[in-house]
Each structure stands twice: as C-alpha cells, then as structure tokens.
Amino acid sequence: MDIAKKNRAGTIATELVMIVLGILFLVPFYFLFVNSVKSFGDLLTNAASLPKSIEWGNYSRAFDITNFPTAFLNSSIITIVSNVLLVLISAMAAHRMVRSNSRFNKGLFLMLVAAMVVPFQSIMIPLVKVASTLGLMNSIHGMIICYLGFGVPMSVFLLHGFVKSIPQEIEEAATVDGSNAYGVFFRVVFPLMKPMLVTVFILNTLWIWNDYLLPSLILQSVELQTIPIATFAFFGQYTKQWDLALPALVMGVTPIIVFFLFMQKYIIEGITQGAVKG
C-alpha cells in the first residue's frame, strides 16, 4: 500500500515537471504568434506581453509582400510530385533488387547505402554545373529531378528492408494465377508495401518541404520560389521589420504544422520504422 502511494506521488510529480518542460518548449510559439498581431510600437515596448490590440492588417500586408500563394503552390507541387515519383521508382527498384539478387543489383545496393553518408554540401558545387548542362536550372521539373536523385538512396534502402519481409510465396501464387512480373508488382506487392511507403512519404515530405539549400541553388526567378526561399528573400528586404516578418513566419510554418497535426500518428510511426530499418 505504502509503495503504491509513494509511486503515485512520484508519478504526479513527474507529470508536473514534464508539463512545465512542455510549456517551456511551447514558449517560442507563444512569442511568434502573440507578436505577429501586435503593432510595431507595441511589439518594441514589450515582446512578452499580450497584444494591446489585434492587428490582422500585419497578415494581409505580409501576405501580399511574400506572394504567399505562389510560394505555397510551388512548395506543394515540388513536394507532392517528387514524393509520388520517388515512392514509385524506389518501390520498383527495391522490389526488383530484392527478388533478383544479381551481382549488379548487390553492387548498386551497396552504392546506395554508401551514398547515404555523403553530405549534400559535398556535391552541391559540381551539381550546379551538371544541372545547368542538363537544363534543370530554374525550373520546377529540374527541382523535382534533383529530389528524385537525392531521395533514391534512403527510400530504396528503407523499402529494400521491407520487401525482404514480404513472403515470396505470395508473389509465386500470383504468377501461377497468370500474372506477369508487372502485374505481380502493381497488384500484389505495391499494396503490401503500404506501411513503409507511408513512412518514406512522410520522411521525404518533411525534408523536401523544409529544404532551403537545394532550391536556393536551382531556382532563381521570383515566381518559382518555395516557402523557405521566399522567407529568406523577404528577410533580406525587410530586416528588423518584425511586424511584417512575424506574420510571414507564421504563414510559413502553418502548413507543415497542420500537416503534422493531421498525420501525427503516421509521422511518429514512420520515424520509428525509419530508424529501426536505418
């Protein structure tokens, strides 16, 4: 009885400490949101207090200056199209590489694993040259092709591990029933890969949506800017104009936070699975 009581008191104390820590973790968001609706004067006097009056006008000005809809659309197109293609080509490659264990496929797999430790910064300089030779500069499709290249190693690696856990008998049964290799993959294997496809999709979404460096090298025109690029350009122009900058930042972080809150369960599972396989 005594031990149980002591345990309960301990649990409550732990809970309180963790809640305080949680609130501390949220404080930056408090500063961000509260100050985004303050007038410039109010913001300068005291950044910690609640706003005296709520200035939604900050948002409409920032919305116009950052050209938010364009940036949002560019980010969305790049993230979605890269993701869909990446999932498809990686799944196909991973499946084939597991089922046909030729020397070529073994070697390729080793190369993909090795490529995962190559930091982006160590190939970005020649990449710009290669990209301009191939005509990938300053275009959305060029951007997508770059993400396909950089995404393949990790995506194939995760899916490769997963395909191994799918019993080969299922595929053989489909072959006996008259499916060819393509039918087996698209009708049988691909649907079975769903849990890991979701993981790959989520990890790639977080990465591609938030990426700054690659689009900053590839995309130059204003109408092609993604959200991180538009935010960076905005800060270059409006340094210290916090009444405009904070609403712009709120708009920048909202889409991905909404995505996170809706997909939470899958994101947490995805990271766990990704880590176990990785």
Binding site: T14, S90, P126, Y182, F235, I257
Partner: protein
C-alpha cells in the same frame, strides 16, 4: 530461353532503371566531377579548369584559417549538440513511457519543433533572442535573458546550441520511446523484485538494452550537426566575426560568394571524408556496445 533473358532484361530496366538514372545523374556524376574539380583552379564561370594537382588541398591545410576555424566551430558544436540532444531526448522518452495522463500531448509538443525547417526556425529564434529575451529580462531582472545573445561570439555559439537542441531532441525522443517500449517487462519486474534501485535498473538493464537506438540517435545527431547550414544562415549568418560559420557554410561561401569552385570542391571532399570516417567509427563503436535481451 532467349525470350526469357530478354524479359528479365526488360524487367531490370523498367524496375531499376529510373531510380538508377536519377541517382547517377544527381549524385554519382556530381561526386565524380567534384573529385576532379578539387584538383583544378575552376572558377565556376569559364568552361576551363586548369589542373593544379594537390595545390587546393595544400592551401586548405596550410593557409586557410577561416576553414580551420569553421571546422573548430562545427566540431565543438557537434560534441555539445550530440550530447545535449541525446541526453534530453532520452530523458523525455524515459519519463514519457511512464503512465502519465498527459503523455500523448507532451510527445506531440516535444516533437513539434522538428517539423519546421531550420531556416524558418532560425528567423523565429532571432526574434526571440533579440526582442523576446530582452522583454523577459527587463520584466524579471534575470541576467541570463539580458545577455547580448547574438552579439558576442560565446553567446551566439550557445544560442545555436539551444535552438538545435530544442529542434531535434523530440525526434530522438521518438526513437528512444520505441526502444524503451521494447525492453521486456518481465526483466524489469524481476529486477524490481530482486530489490534493484531505479538507478541500478536504468544503468544495468535499460541503457544496455536500448543501445541499438543510441547507435541510430548518435548517428543522426552527428550527421545533422555536421551538416548544419540553414540554422546558422538564418540565426547568425555565421557572425559575429565569422565565429559561428559552419563548415557547410564555409564551403558554400568559397564557391558561390568567392567563385573559387575548385577550392570549394576540395573542401567539400575533405568534409565528406571527415563525416564518413566519424560516422562509421561511431556506428562501429556503439554497435559493439549493443547486447541482446
């Protein structure tokens, strides 16, 4: 027989071809070009690149103080970043696997900073360090908040560490949670019945059993800290006086601001070798500490 071979070849091309083509174009070819350019005086603009042998590497190792400093910054930052994110990530995971009423909400809260990109986070924190901390400091009088956070070399360094830990601890927490949930209950109960204290259980049972998660978490934290670019770009721009310039940023500036692409690629190759060596040593070392239940 021949048609079977042809169909196998077709399958290989259809299934592996696209991934192979994109990977080769975007990663393999630039990497090989990078190796070549690191021995040239390529300026990125003219088509010609003159062969200079090991001159770039000599230049970097003997005369490049800025690169050495950026390397020191990155190394110091990596050590602190890796230790703090892993300790905090593990502590959060340890307590959030206890039966707390708020644990699901708290897991969400601790993870949330991670979904925001480093660039935007840096700008948000710039505001907090400059205006937010000042406001808290003048209200409470606590001197910690009144420090010139982004203004001196020492505080700016810690500013980046703080933001990095806040951003990434939650991600590692998720991995540690799943690993902690896999520690067999009966072993823990047996230890408790045998009278082991909580600390003993933690040190002798839990930590050895979660070493596979530690291998991954250390690997992730090391590679994130080494590659850091967005966060310092938006938080400090490498300042004050270049004191927070990471290796990644130094490489970027060498090539794209100073137009010394040959020198930049040589730095990039050195950077790659260092990252590869450190991460493989770490994985080898922590893997040797893994045990099975």
């Amino acid at each position: 027989m021949n048609s079977k071979k042809a169909s196998q070849l077709a399958q290989q091309i259809v299934f592996v071809g696209p991934a192979l083509v994109f990977f080769t174009l975007i990663m393999v070819i630039p990497f090989l070009f990078g190796l070549y350019y690191s021995f040239t005086d390529w300026n990125g603009v003219s088509g010609e690149a003159g062969w200079v042998g090991f001159d770039n590497y000599k230049q970097i190792f003997m005369h490049d103080d800025a690169f050495r400093e950026s390397f020191w910054f990155t190394a110091k930052f990596t050590v602190l970043g890796v230790v703090f994110t892993n300790v905090l990530g593990f502590v959060l995971a340890y307590f959030l696997t206890k039966p707390l009423k708020t644990r699901n909400v708290l897991r969400t809260v601790f993870f949330m900073p991670n979904v925001i990109g480093g660039l935007l986070l840096g700008f948000i924190w710039q505001f907090i360090f400059v205006k937010g901390f000042a406001a808290v400091g003048s209200t409470t009088g606590i001197s910690f908040f009144n420090l010139p956070w982004l203004g001196t070399e020492n505080t700016a360094f810690w500013a980046i560490v703080i933001v990095f830990v806040w951003q990434t601890a939650g991600y590692l927490m998720v991995i540690y949670i799943s690993s902690l949930n896999n520690v067999p209950r009966d072993i823990l109960e047996a230890a408790e019945i045998d009278g082991a204290s909580r600390l003993q259980i933690l040190r002798s049972i839990i930590i050895p059993l979660i070493m596979p998660a530690a291998t991954i978490c250390l690997f992730l934290a090391i590679s994130w800290s080494f590659k850091m670019f967005d966060l310092n770009l938006s938080l400090t721009k490498g300042g004050p006086f270049g004191s927070t310039e990471s290796v990644a940023m130094n490489i970027y500036n060498e090539a794209f601001s100073k137009n010394r692409y040959g020198l930049g690629t040589a730095k990039a190759i050195i950077f790659f070798v260092i990252v590869a060596v450190i991460t493989s040593l770490q994985v080898k070392f922590t893997k040797s500490k893994e045990v099975e239940a």
